[in-house]
Amino acid sequence: MNTEELLKLWTDTKLQINQERDFSSKVMSRIYRYEEQRRKPLFDISRLVEIATSNPLAKAAVIVGGAAIGVLRIVFLLRTFLWC
């Protein structure tokens, strides 16, 4: 068998593919999950909680936000008492 024939034979073998079972189902289920997430309302409390608990940055933001509100409340309280 010459070089050309071997090359042809090789390319022919590369055309054959064992189709993966359920490939399209895997793609579709990923798309359904994506659509489900996308269609959830933006200000859904449970979604906000989910984001805040799953993302370390969101967790840090919630803690920093809470701490800032606490400090501000103390400052306002002190200001009210000191100025009275």
């Binding site: 070089t3 071997l6 593919i17 189709q19 399209s24 798309i31």
Partner: protein, 179 residues
């Protein structure tokens, strides 16, 4: 229902209409990604990403500019390039191992040769490898390859010829070793 109508339906919100498109092109996309990346499993994962990305940006597909398959292959090409950047790059200087198949039957010898050709394919420069795979494994016409790669038809032809020349040289070298 033709392909354009199917695409319109998906864009209008019929998610299920996307499934026939996946089923129609999954073999080509998996095969392309698997051959380009040299790994069937990674190829399948990338192919999943390709269809997911295609679904997300389906509204940007313009049938006046290209076929759906060309557009899909463009996404696959870009995803594979990104994946190859993540993967360890196969050295272009790495030559295939020589076959010492004195006592092998023709079938096994061919399999060994094909395995070496697979290795040689992976050592080709990315542009030549893609052009070769598009032309020889996917049977895409030169103008479509040129569109996907964003180059002229002449450049595509030259890349394919260079790839073939290298693969023939590898085959010739392996053939000498087996005789």
């Amino acid at each position: 229902m033709n392909e354009r109508e199917t695409i319109s339906q998906v864009i209008r919100g019929n998610v299920d209409a996307f499934r026939p498109l996946v089923e129609k092109y999954q073999d080509s996309i998996i095969r392309f990604a698997a051959n380009l990346l040299g790994d069937r499993h990674i190829g399948e994962d990338v192919a999943q990403d390709v269809f997911f990305a295609a679904y997300k940006k389906l509204a940007s597909f313009d049938p006046a500019r290209s076929n759906f398959s060309t557009w899909l292959f463009s996404i696959a090409r870009n995803k594979c390039i990104n994946e190859m950047k993540k993967k360890k790059v196969v050295s272009a200087n790495e030559l295939p191992e020589k076959i010492t198949a004195n006592n092998l039957s023709d079938g096994i010898a061919n399999q060994e040769l094909f395995a070496e050709l697979d290795k040689a394919l992976q050592t080709l420069p990315g542009r030549q490898k893609r052009a070769f795979i598009f032309a020889e494994f996917e049977n895409l016409p030169y103008h479509e390859i040129a569109q996907i790669e964003g180059v002229r038809i002449g450049t595509v032809k030259s890349r394919i010829n260079r790839a073939k020349k290298k693969l023939r040289a590898v085959l010739a070298m392996l053939d000498e070793e087996t005789i």
